[in-house]
Every structure is written in structure tokens, then in C-alpha cells.
Symmetry: D2
């Protein structure tokens, strides 16, 4: 009998009797669980639980709230093997990669532990004579997060620890593909002492998402996923007057200058392009070589390594790539490769027919490498989200920057060089939100914030870090003057200016 995956509502697992949807083990291609798809009633329950939990939670001093995060961090560390198993089972990524993902998630929990510091407002004595003013940051109420399959444990941890430490109650709608790790992690939070209702997890599809966005109790929406959905969610939230941050797709370029150490670059690109099968919004999918000499040498170094990529089930840490998340996605990637060939790209390594012994039904693909890709090709324009690296050749750094700036996405990028001027020119001119200088995956650390530019992010505040605290709070500005006994102020019909002595 297949395992049932339910929801976490008001501190309890709930296996909703309504419709279900299979969850696959992508390494075997078999169904590993049935996922309950929340009915409107269940979504209502989650909202109602969150709403009820809110007043007491928001009134709990931040330093007291933080105590739960400290214990939660411990529990995450103690249960990391179990969490990583769940990630690998449903997502497919190699265990060591799952561990890396979780480590990054825990860093966000650490950041959230510092909430007393992060919630500080600004205090101004004497904005006018005997008048003080200060700001306070209040929780919004019920807020919602919708997260993608590719980092099933980490992306939820980008959102809810910060949101609830700010005093909000949170409803998480994880990916239908691999919901178990997020659910398990949410249970650990309960175990750490989180009051029921502060964090609810609801599984489902687009209907659940829409119901959550439309609910009057929901104050804000955080989303990470593809750009078309990000846009739709941003618009839907706004049409109801809500704040929203919606992170979308990416096409991340690595620029390789002639002075770069190509062995280092090759190693970096192998991990950045093929780690987690390229199913990362920060994956490098385009190598931009400056000068043909670099291009030729780089392709020569990459080809045998791509060919030799060790592909297999993520449960075996000696593998370098696990399977693609679904069969459909695997076919989509193959389609992009086919199209690229048609459109004239030079196929250097072909990963389409990779087969893993004993795992023939798994959704595996080998690594694919293209050379001579040009901006007009579909494989350059689209986010492939698969183990495909393409080389685009340019002649100058300026051209490389222009190429990147003309792409619709602006999530991450990096440059390989040891030249200070080149690094600064690149970081200064590139219209991308996260820039690495010799750092292939420039995911900001948890105490900075994550976000792309252009069509990679909709909203004005980035995810996690300082921006998330601002996103999950509402500013209140207080101006205070205590009355002077016996002093009568003259009526003031004119607009007051505190900087004068009044």
C-alpha cells in the first residue's frame, strides 16, 4: 500500500480524503507516495488556524520566539540524514547535494535566530522640541509561501523562519513533486515548540494557490518558481492589493576571460552546470568565452568530463548526477537539445541516451555540451533546467556583458578572471541581481538577500536576509509629544514643520 502524504494543519498531520496525486521516485520511475490535494475546506482550515494563532504569536516577544528557532536548528542538525533521504527519494539529487541544500537552509534558520536585532526600529529624539519619533515593524498577519521542486527543503526555509520570527503565521504550499522534506521539517518546528497554527503546510496545485492568494486573511505572498507563474502570481496578488515577491526563471552566464585558470573554470562549471542536473535557478547554463582560444581550450577540457559524468541514483554518493525530476521534464530537455541541433548548435557531448543499469525506468539524462550556440537559438533563450551547458563565443568582455544584459532573465552570473578591473567592470555593468567573481554559484549567504533582476524577480524586496524582514513586516511610524501641564498651544492651521521650535 502506498504511503499517504497529507497536510500539516494546526499542528497536526491531516490526510485529506479528497483527490490525490502520485509522487514519484525519479530514480526508479515508480510512484513512492500518494499526495493529498487539499480541498477548499482544508485550505480554509489552514487559513483559519493561522488566523487564530496570529494574535498570541505576534504578541510574543521576538526574543522568546527566537528560542524556538534555536531548538529547531538543533533538531534540523540531528535529523539531517532523515531529511536528506526524503529529498533524495522524491527529488532525486545526490545525498551529498541534499546535505548542501539543507546546510544552506539551516543558515536561514540561524539568521532568523537573530530576530531581536533584525526587528529594531529607528528612534529619533527631538524631531521637534520635546517631540520624539520612532518606527516599529509589525507582523503582517497570515502570509503564504509557494515553493518549487528543485530545493524542496531549502526554499521553504528561505521564507517561513524569517516570516514567523517577524511574528506572522505562515502557510506553506510546497511543490507537488517532492513535498515530504518540507512537511517533515515543519513537524520538527512543532517539536521545537512552535505553537500550533503558526506554520501550516497545505499540499495541492493551482487551485490551492489561487484560494490562498484570494483569501482576505492572507496579507502577503512569496513565490519561487518559473517566470510565467511568478508573473501570474504577482499580478493576482496585486489585483487584490497585496504585497508579493515572486522569483522566477534564470539563464545564468559564466564569463571566462583569457586570464582565467581553465582547470579551475572547468571544475567550477562542471559543478555549477551539472550539479543537481542543472535544476537550480542559480545553475550556470551558458559559458561565455572571451576569445576563441579560450573557447577551444575550455571545450576541450570540458568534453571528456561531461562525457564521464557519473549518473545514477542519488542514494549513492559516488554519483555526480541523479535523475531529472519527472519523465515529462526529461522529454522537455531532450526536446531543447533536439531543437538546438536543428538550429545549428555544435553538439559536443550528447546526454540524451544515457541509461543507468538497474534504473532503466528512472528519469536519467547524461550531461550535454554544446558549442557555438548563438543568442537566436531556443536553447539560449529558454531556461532548460536540465544538464545542458552551452558555450557562446564572444570577442570582448564588453560583448559578454551586453549579451547577458540583453537576456530577459537576470538572476545570477559569474566571471572567471584574476583581473581586478575586469571583475569590477563586470559586477558594475551586468544587470543581474547576484554576481560571482570567481564564484560560480553566487547564492548570497543568509545574512545578505537573494534575488534577481529583470524577469527573474517581481517585487521590490528580495528573498531571505535583510529584505525578507522588511517584506514580512509593516512599518508603523509613531510621533509623540507629551502634554505640558498648563501649557496651551495655539491652534495650528498651517502644516506643521517639526524642525522649527514649536
Amino acid at each position: 500500500m502506498t504511503q499517504q502524504i497529507g497536510h500539516l494543519i494546526d499542528g497536526e498531520r491531516l490526510n485529506d480524503g479528497a483527490s490525490t496525486q502520485p509522487v514519484y521516485n525519479p530514480a526508479t520511475g515508480e510512484v513512492c507516495a500518494e499526495l493529498a490535494m487539499a480541498s477548499p475546506q482544508v485550505v480554509e482550515q489552514a487559513i483559519s488556524s493561522a488566523k487564530q494563532a496570529f494574535p498570541a504569536w505576534a504578541a510574543t516577544p521576538p526574543a522568546a520566539r527566537a528560542q524556538i528557532m534555536y531548538r529547531f536548528k538543533q533538531l534540523l542538525e540531528q535529523n539531517q540524514d532523515k531529511i536528506c533521504e526524503l529529498i533524495t527519494l522524491e527529488h532525486g539529487k545526490v545525498l551529498s547535494d541534499a546535505k548542501g541544500e539543507l546546510a544552506r537552509g539551516i543558515e536561514n534558520v540561524e539568521y532568523a535566530c537573530g530576530i531581536p536585532e533584525l526587528l529594531k526600529g529607528e528612534h529619533s529624539r527631538n524631531v521637534g522640541t520635546k517631540i520624539d519619533a520612532w518606527s516599529e515593524f509589525y507582523a503582517l498577519g497570515v502570509v503564504v509561501g509557494i515553493t518549487p521542486f528543485n530545493f524542496p527543503a531549502m526554499v521553504p526555509l528561505w521564507m517561513w523562519p524569517s516570516a514567523i520570527m517577524c511574528g506572522n503565521c505562515f502557510i506553506l504550499k510546497p511543490s507537488e513533486r517532492d513535498p515530504s522534506s518540507a512537511l517533515y521539517i515543519a513537524e520538527l518546528a512543532q517539536q521545537a515548540g512552535l505553537p500550533k497554527g503558526v506554520l501550516n503546510v497545505v499540499n495541492g496545485g493551482v487551485d490551492v494557490v489561487n484560494q490562498l492568494i484570494d483569501a482576505p486573511e492572507v496579507q502577503a505572498v512569496s513565490f519561487v518558481g518559473s517566470t510565467p507563474i511568478a508573473e501570474a502570481i504577482y499580478e493576482r496578488s496585486a489585483s487584490q492589493g497585496k504585497r508579493c515577491q515572486a522569483l522566477g526563471g534564470a539563464k545564468n552566464h559564466a564569463v571566462i576571460l583569457p586570464d582565467a585558470d581553465l582547470d579551475v573554470v572547468t571544475n567550477s562549471l562542471m559543478g555549477a552546470a551539472f550539479g543537481s542536473c542543472g535544476q537550480r535557478c542559480m545553475a550556470i547554463s551558458v559559458a561565455v568565452t572571451v576569445g576563441d582560444k579560450v573557447a577551444d581550450a575550455l571545450v576541450a577540457k570540458l568534453a571528456p568530463k561531461v562525457e564521464a559524468l557519473k549518473v545514477g541514483p542519488g542514494t549513492d554518493n559516488s554519483n555526480e548526477m541523479g535523475p531529472i525530476i519527472t519523465g515529462a521534464q526529461k522529454q522537455k530537455v531532450i526536446g531543447y537539445i533536439d531543437q538546438a541541433i536543428e538550429q545549428g548548435a555544435s553538439l559536443v557531448v550528447d546526454g540524451r541516451t544515457k541509461s543507468v543499469p538497474q534504473y532503466e525506468a528512472g528519469f536519467f539524462l547524461g550531461g550535454t555540451l554544446f558549442d557555438n550556440v548563438t543568442p537566436e537559438m531556443t536553447i539560449y533563450q529558454q531556461e532548460v533546467f536540465g544538464p545542458v551547458l552551452v558555450v557562446v563565443r564572444v570577442e570582448t568582455l564588453e560583448q559578454a556583458v551586453r549579451l547577458i544584459n540583453e537576456h530577459e532573465y537576470g538572476n545570477g552570473t559569474c566571471i572567471f578572471t584574476r583581473d581586478g578591473e575586469a571583475g569590477r567592470y563586470f559586477s558594475d555593468h551586468v544587470m543581474v541581481g547576484m554576481v560571482g567573481i570567481n564564484v560560480p554559484l553566487p547564492v548570497p549567504v543568509s545574512y545578505h538577500s537573494f534575488g534577481g533582476w529583470k524577469r527573474s524577480l517581481f517585487g521590490d524586496l528580495h528573498a531571505y536576509g535583510p529584505d525578507s524582514v522588511r517584506f514580512y513586516t509593516r512599518r508603523k511610524a509613531i510621533t509623540q509629544r507629551w502634554p505640558s501641564r498648563g501649557v496651551q498651544d495655539g491652534t495650528q492651521f498651517s502644516f506643521p514643520s517639526y524642525s522649527e521650535d514649536d
Copy 2:
């Protein structure tokens, strides 16, 4: 021949030949100028001018940009009489009130002078071994501001000084009712050395607004006005993936506790309710009395003062109220008063038939005071934007707070008391963005930020102050590791965690 009011495009006044619309002197009821309504071509010109000015302006060091603001502040001070004349001519408010408005606007210019401090990013050394990370805040590009009639000089100064100091180019669409002061002020900015194209002013109506929002070059939209339009603009901006902050309507309550000094309260309310004819988004339009004893005494003190309000042209500083902005708005206010009487409110002072000798055609109204208003009445629910103060009677502070929290708006509010617990209870529990404790108009000083809650503001960042710098910039996160000569890093397929020594 009537004076023509045109646009400011690329540093030059432009009198567009297309359609025009009359601008009135509300004190006389006469047309004082014809306003050019921008054609699509003119709007295009403004956008194109801003777009062309952007790269050089954004690359100008913030400290150099600030020099223009220092000179601009001086010019505003030197020309304050002229500016206030323009405000009073077209808006009608009393000159001394115009001066107060301008003073507050200049404070925003002062804040913008501090841009080198305000644009500082965060730098972290050793996020991992030999890896540094920092954040930088970049200008967005071309941004747009749409401003209301009631503070024709101040609200534009809330927006564009901050926006352009952040490195953006700005297009201002001022109110059609009283555009001249904003236009004149923009010319002073040119005089202060602002490069052409950095600030453009375009006059027009809804078509111009829509064209601006829809233009692909426009990156962000700031709006101050009524809630329905704020919502529409927020949604329209979002549907194109743009960031927007849209400030809407208000219904600001003053709570009067029994321990308040009623002479002080009366004086405060007179200014806060009737200053500028109540046409302020921070005007107090509801007095919430706690206990009938306070209510009776307050009404007794208010009535003769409301009766005695000195109404007349704003050019005479001895007047306390000028005219309403338009005849239509005057009729709308009268309609609200009529309806309140029908719905059972007690009319204490009736300002409907006020007439000003020699200014019979002016849009004047006297002050109106209602007692025994209840939450169901239209005059309580709607933003009247006229010289009408209503008294709502409650029995406890808790009821007062509940009343306020149940109103759809949450812009400003204040409490009159000398009791510390009451003040803190109020500021803590009231769901309003700007709270005054014995401060009737708690407009935050320029170095804090302005914004309401609930349906008074759409977006996640408030206007001016710290929030505006965040709104008008895009965060870039840079992670940097310089290569070690001769050191080969192992390929890293797993997701990197910088906190380990790698």
C-alpha cells in the same frame, strides 16, 4: 489672454499644441490658466529624454549628485514666496499653510542630500574562507510619480529628490488642478544644475498615466491619491511586472481620553480638521470621544470655534481656511453633509452656506461639525476631503481602537491623553501606519517614512525616508573569491555552503 502651462521635457518648457484643460483659481472661481494635456508624442519625448539621461546620471557618484540637491535647497528657500503664491493661486490654501507645506517638502530635499550615507550597502568579509560578499544598490532607470492636488509642492518632493539621488531619472505627472508649483520647482532643480532629462514633468490625465505605466522603459511607479485609483495603478503596474507604491485614502481618527486637556485638544483639532479645508490625507475627520462627558465638553468647546472659522482667499494670511479645490468637490462635500443629516447625525455647525464677500464665485465652504455620528453613516465611512469634523462617541479606549481598526483605511490617527499606558496601548494596538500621541497630524519627519496600512497603501515600502531609498533601488549581491595562483579547486557538485572552510 490666458496663461499656458506646459511640460518640462529634457530641461525645457514645452507647450504642447494638443488639447488643453482649464486651471481654476478656486478663490475666485475663475480660470487662471490653460493646461496643456500631453499627447502620446510628448509623453514619448519625456520617456526618451529620461532614458537617454539615465546612464550618465546613474554613473555620477552619489556625492556629486548631492551637490545639486544642496543648491536646490537654497533655491527653494530663496524662491519660497513665489512657490507659495503658485500653490495658493491654484490650490486655494492660505499662504502660511502653503509655506508649511513647502517647508516639509524642503525637509525631503535635505534628506536626499544625505544620499552617500543612505546608499551604503553591507559588506561581509570572509563569508567563507577568503570569500567576501557585499550588496550594492542600483538605480532602477526611469521611474514615474503621479501626485495629487492637495499638496502640489510637497508630494512631488516626497518622491523625486529621493528617486533621482538614487540615480534614477524621473517623470512627474502632477495634478491637473494645480500643476504650476511643481513645474516651477522642477525648473529650480534645473537651475541648481540637474542635467536635462533627469527630471521631466508631463501634464495630463488618465491617458498620460496609463501610457507612462505601460511604457517598457518605466521601472517603477509612485502614486499618491484616492484609494480606487491607487488600487488600479497598483494592479496595472503589477500586471506588467513593475514595482509600485500607491498611497490612497484616509479617515483619520483622533481619540480623546478623559484625562486630556480639552483646550489643547480643541485647538489641535481645529487645525487638524479644518486646516487646508480638511483636504489632507492626514487631516483628522473623526473625533472619537471616550465617555459622554468628554464628548459634551468637547463639542461645546468646538462649536463656537468652528462657527467662527475665518474663511476667505488664501492670499490673506489672516484667513484660517481658503476655498475647496473645485466647485464639483464643494458640491460633493455638501452632498455628504446632506446625507449625514438624513442618516441621523446631529448637525452642530453647518458650513454649507458660507459665503465670502467679494469672492461669491469662489468655492468656499464653512466649517461643519457633527455630533453623534455612527459607523454606519456614509459620512463616517467615506473620505470627505472637506472641512467637516464628526464626533463619534464610545465608552472605552478599547472600543475606540476597535472602531478605528474596523475602518477600511489605516493612514493616520492620534490619541490625546497624558497617560503612558493609554498611549502605548493605543500605538501598539491600532492598525494604522502613522500614529500620533498628542500629535494631531503625525506626518513622520523626512528621515522616517510615510505610509498607511490597510487600504491606505498598496505596496510594501512607504514613501520618502529610508523606505524610499529601498524602493527606488535594486539590490545587487556580489560574492567574490580571487583565485589562488596554482591552486586547483576540486569540482563541487554539491550545493556550496560558505560557512564551511572551502
Copy 3:
């Protein structure tokens, strides 16, 4: 055989063979251990261990250092009973009070966990064209802390967690009276993974202190204790060019206004004056009554409660006061009481002859209450550090503030009132570093900073919180311009101004 208390050097307990000094259990008056007094060689070892540990520790990324703090927090929580036993054994305070002390200490550890956030420098792009500037905060090297007997666990935790998280190596010289809890806690830090040498504990007296201050390797000195020693240490440190923060004595006044709830005040004062026998630098030792009516009523309420204070060994949680730290200190307190009587103060409750059955040799004193104390009396001028509360009568709040401002100390103070104006007047005018409004012991939370004014603190930065991070680091300002290939700058003999385009 008596237990030996040694040092913690380079990660190991070391029982120095040199001279020893007895440590007493003040509840029994018996020696409970022999404390090794470090020889110059041992001090040298500590310095040398710290110096050697420094480079690797300073180069460890802050986020990695923080991991140790998270584990350390856990260990403190798990071992709190043991720690509190040690505190109570040697200091005498009641166990529940020891627990309160430890809880406050742990809050400082939590603050230190946030070090990645706290160490952020400021980054400015384009301070001039293509010139960037930023600041970084570096560890100082070896730093020293000298801590008092009254909070043997907490005060060390004010210092070293912040200091070592900043990257320093720390040498702690705890009080000779009750060193065991600090030593035990330091061992827990080792257990949490602190590399050896990062934290050393050296026991001893003035010679050890002087040797530490004079050692060229020592970069900074933190001290908490009495004012004469604070001054001496501040001067000694400065005479060697070192930074120092030295916190000294206190005479904390509570002002009671006529509108205060005297039951609340009485309860608050009982805890604030007699908790830990008044041996706290934040203890309230002076009640300043405004008006004789308040004074009479307050004394009437206090007297029976002071009389009824439950005094006995700290191991019994039902006691309200334990013993005084030493017999000598007990005699000193009695001397102050004798003198006050001679000088004309009205003795209301006399605690001098309190005896605790079965603990006759313990250093116990009962609570003492004086009325009609005046500023000329020794008991008003001196910090008594015993269970003695004096009442000074004044007529107005202004007089109360003047009284406080004329005292040489300015550590803490509080006011009891519900009047907003009174609270603000008091906090604004009182020349004291830590102010409570209806908070009798206004010890700032760990994420603010602790420090007095006037002769209560020497130095410019306060203890713990934000100031401590600044104290334990050195600012480095970096200005960077990468060369433009092929561009020759003109020689610049004039002093450069980056705000011009150069």
C-alpha cells in the same frame, strides 16, 4: 582535603603550584576551596596561548565561529543547574536568582550567535568615478576581561562571547571570591568546540591584572568593578596606548511620583533593593519620594516587608536573601548603617543583627530601611553594596532629577509613574546611562548595550550589545580603484576630492 581551583590555559585546567587563597561559602563562613593565584609564568602561558591561537581563529569565517556559540548555548542550558549551584555556593545568592543571572548571560551568547550580521561593514560604490570604498572590522588580537564577584557567571558572558565572536582571543580574570562558575562555563565553551587558547581563564589578584594590562600582546581591557579600580585600570591601559572600557560603581535612585501605584512600587523596590543583598551594580539603593505623602505611605508599606525578608542560605529557594559575599563586606555595610544613624538618618528597619539558625557563621545581614536620608550623609554618597534602602524626600520631580544628576555616579535609575510627560521629562533630563520607566532594574537587553554615565563608566563604548562589537574590533577603511588599461592619470599634487569626477 579542600578542592583546588586552578586556571584554564590552552584548553586545559591547570593547577598552578604557586600561592593560593581561600574561597568561602558565605552561607556557612567556611572555606570551600583553595584558589590558585597565577604566577607570572602562568599569566605568560595564558598570553602566549591566546597569541598563538589568534591567527587561525581570526581567519575563521564568522559564520563558522558562530556554530560554536550555538552549541555553547545548548550546553549552558543543559548544565544550568550545575552552574547555578556553583554560583550559589561561592557567591551566596539564592538559586532562583542565580538562574536569573545565568539566563541574562545566555542572552549575551545568543547575541553573539548573530555575529555575521553584526560584523557587517559599510560599502559605498562610486565614492568617486569607478572608486569604491568600504569598511571592515578586524579582531584586535588578545583582549582581557576583569570581572567582579557579584555576577560571577553573567559579567564574563557580557564580554568574552562577543569578543571571541569578533575574532579575538580572550583572557578572563574572574573575581577571586567566586571564580568557579566562570571557569566551569569556560570549560563548556571548550566542549562546544572552541579551539584551545581562544579563551583562557587566569585566577589571581592585582598583580595578575597589572601583568595582563601591561603585556604588549594585550590590545584591549574590559573591566567591571568599583569606580576607584575602574579609574586605575582605565588610566593604566591608556598610559600604554590601549583601549579600555571600565565600568565602575553606582548609586541607583528610584523616583516615586504621587500617581504611582504604591503596591507595585513596594514590590518592585523590595526586589530591586534587596535581591542578591543589594550586591548589584543596578540595585536600587535610594528611593526618592516626591512629596511627603508618598514618602509616608511608601515607608509604611516597605517597613513590614523589609522586616519580614526571608534570609538564609541561597540553596533554599524559599529564601529571599542569601548572605553577603564576605565577612569584611558585612562589617563594612554595618559600618555604613552605624554612620547613617550617627549622621541623623531615621532607622526604620535594622538588619544588622539578623542571625540565621544553623548558619550562625554565615555572613548574613537582614534588610535595612532608612528614612529622611539627605545628600550629605555618607550612606547616600557611597555605594553600600548591601541590603540597605534609603529614602530621600523631595518635593518635585525637578528636585529629584537634580539630586540624581548631582551624584557622582550615573549608572541606572528608574521612575514610577503613569504620566507620560513625567516619564519623558525624567528620561530626557536624567544624566544616567540606563533609565527605567516603571522598570526597577533597567538592565538593557542583550541586543542593546550596558553602561553608565559620569563616574560609573570610563571609556566611550558600553558593554555588550552593539557597542561591544565596536569595542572589540578595529575599523579598516579600504578605497579601491582598478587601473584602466592604457589610461594614464595625470599626477595629482593637490589633495584629492573623490566627489569630483576624477
Copy 4:
């Protein structure tokens, strides 16, 4: 008759009748004025004036204080020619250099304009249930600044604008050599509206300094000058329990790597070493070449330029160097050169006998260049403060850094390279407070802070910028809980922990 230079006390010029001292025009060697040396009575007057001005000034809202700074900035700009004339007359530097100095000073005035932003404290709501805490920064009272001859206009502007904007009253003791520009600037501040007594200028020598430090009214001391005096002042201030920041001498090294563009380096070094005759605490006096090839090439490029340095009166802008400040200092520099020759340094260009036609009595020196200088030589160890550049040859960057780190001073330094790793290695490892990467004079911009390490600065806070605001203020921490009507708290004998719900 010679002009008399007096003091500025309580808003008035005062020509004290006591002793005087000549001020020289170093370009002619003639006395250009007689400087009044303040008697103890005059110093008392200054202190008394400052003390009296303090309460009203400290109570003036920061935003109102800032208005004076805005006007003062304008006046400085309008009167820059006059100020620069005074600088050049008494100091000797070339007018264009004086203008650069003044521009930097004005930047500090701009920073001070932002005081409302800079004085913000931190506000924490709910540090415990219904308990708030915040910090406020108060002015210290009367503070003192003692400034050196080499930047007679700029260094005072580092100090007093920040100090007085923080609410302090300031007493400036400028250099006896060239006091006029500081005095004139102080008068401009009066003209800008500064209340009398807020800024006083007292001229004099060591007695005046000591009297100021010792005065009980004086709360803090800022000093810039030589290290021995800095140390003495730091110790003297500390021995009276006062805060002090004392900036001392420097020996600034420029490291030249083989990849640097030597034409750029040569030009940079010419300005950095010989500008203002090397009489700058940020002057480069040591060029550290990495590799003999670089050394040989650099010396070859430098020699003819040093030889050709145009020396003459500062009033002629075509000159590159003016005279040395005094004849005695000129002799001292010659002495260093003589000694270097004796100790074996290779004299490449000898500036000792430079004579300027028509200015034979002026204190001129030509530029001097030494090669093959070693760390043992006096000319390497001492701060020469003259137009002497020495080349020290090393083989590796590591050696260069070690050399710098072993010098007793650690003020400024820079590296010339285009290599990212080298720049980061250098800035990370060098124990110097201000680091330039391809920036020869890395004086931090006004919104960062200025300060050296090691024996170049005593104190824990740097000059100007954010640190100066902290230095010139005292932190007050307020914790507030308003009483709940009718609620009785239990007496709390244990130490309170706000993070629990109490």
C-alpha cells in the same frame, strides 16, 4: 604694524593682551602676524562660554541645528578663495592644494548636515511583554579639539561640525603655525547662525592644551598630531577619566607589484610623496618595490620627475611644491637626509640645496629620492614629514606586507596592481587602518571614518564619519513598561529576564 591674530570666544574675536608668538609666511620666511597665546583667563572664558551655551544648544532639535550647517557649507563655498589664501599664506602649500584640502573639509560639513539620520537610536518593541527598550545618543557637553599645522582648515572640520551637530559645544585649539584659516572658518560658522559659545577658538601652546584637558567641564578630547604628543594627550585625558581619540604619526608605504603600470605609479607617487612637501599624515614616504626589475624601472622614471619638481611660493598655482612649514622643520628634514646618506642609503635626487629665486629666505626644499633604503635606517623608521621618498626593495608581496606590519605606525598604505588576489591579500593582511588599492592617498570619504592602527591612533573610535558621531555622544538605554491599572506584580527578587513572559 603686524596683524594680530586673536581668539574667538563667545562669538567674538578677542585679542588677548598676554604673550604673543610670531606666525611666519614660510614662502618668504617673514613674520606675517602675531598670534595671541591665550592666558589661563582666556581659556577659562572659552570654557565658560561653551558651558553656558550647551544646555540650549543640546536641546535644539538636530534638524534645526543642521540648518546652520547647510548655510555654513554655502559660506565656505562662497569664501573659498579667501580661506585658501590664508592657508597658503601661513602654511605655504600651493593654492590648488589648499583648495583640495578645503573641498575635503566641506565634505565633512555635508556629512554633518545629515545629523538627524546619524543620531537615530535603536528601538525594540516588546523586549518583554509590553516592555519596550530603545537607545538615545546624547551630547557630551564641552569637547575639545587640538589640530595640527598640516591641514589647518580640514582637520578642524573633521572634528567640530560633527561634534556640534551632535549637540556639543566645542573648543578648538588650532596649530600655532597657521591658525588663521580655522579662525576665519569659525567666524563663517557664526555668520551661518551658530549661537555664540557653541564654537570657540583658543590659540596657544602646551599650557593651553593641558588646561583644556584638565578642565572638569571638558568631556572629551580629539587630537591629531605627532605620536608622542598623541600618547601624552591620550594618557592625560584618561587619567582624568575622559574619553579621547588621539591620532598620531605615520609612515605610509606604497607597494608596487610587477604588473603595475609604472607610468601611473610614478605619477601617483609624485603627488602622494611630494604634494604639500610630504607634510601629510597620509603622504607616501616609502615605495616598496617587489622585485629589482620594478625597482630599477621605477627609480629611473621617478628620478627625472623629482629633479624637475617645480618648487616655489604656493600663491603661484604652477608650482608643484611650496615651502616647508618652518625653518626648523626644514633643517630637521635635511638632518634626516644627511643621516640616511651616512647610513648607506643611495641618494638618487638631492633636494637639500634647492633655492627659489626671489624667495631665498623661504623655507624651501627640493624633492629628494633615495634608493636601497633598509628598515634599520633612521629615515625609514622616522616620520620625516618632508619631500623625501625612499625606495625599499623586497622580493615578494608577503615580504612587503611583513615589512609594513613591522613598522610601528599603521596609518595608511596602498598597493599598485591589477591583480585581484594581490589586492585582496594585501588589504586583508596589512595591519593598517586605511588601505588603498591603486589609490595612493586612501583618505576615506567623509561618510566613512579616518583612523590608523598601531601607534598611529589611540582610542577605539576613528575620526569623522560614523565613528565620530559615536565618539561625540553618550548612549542612553531606556527600558519602559507602563503600569497596568489594577495589576499587581509579584515582588521579583531574582534577576529579571525580559525574554520570559513577565
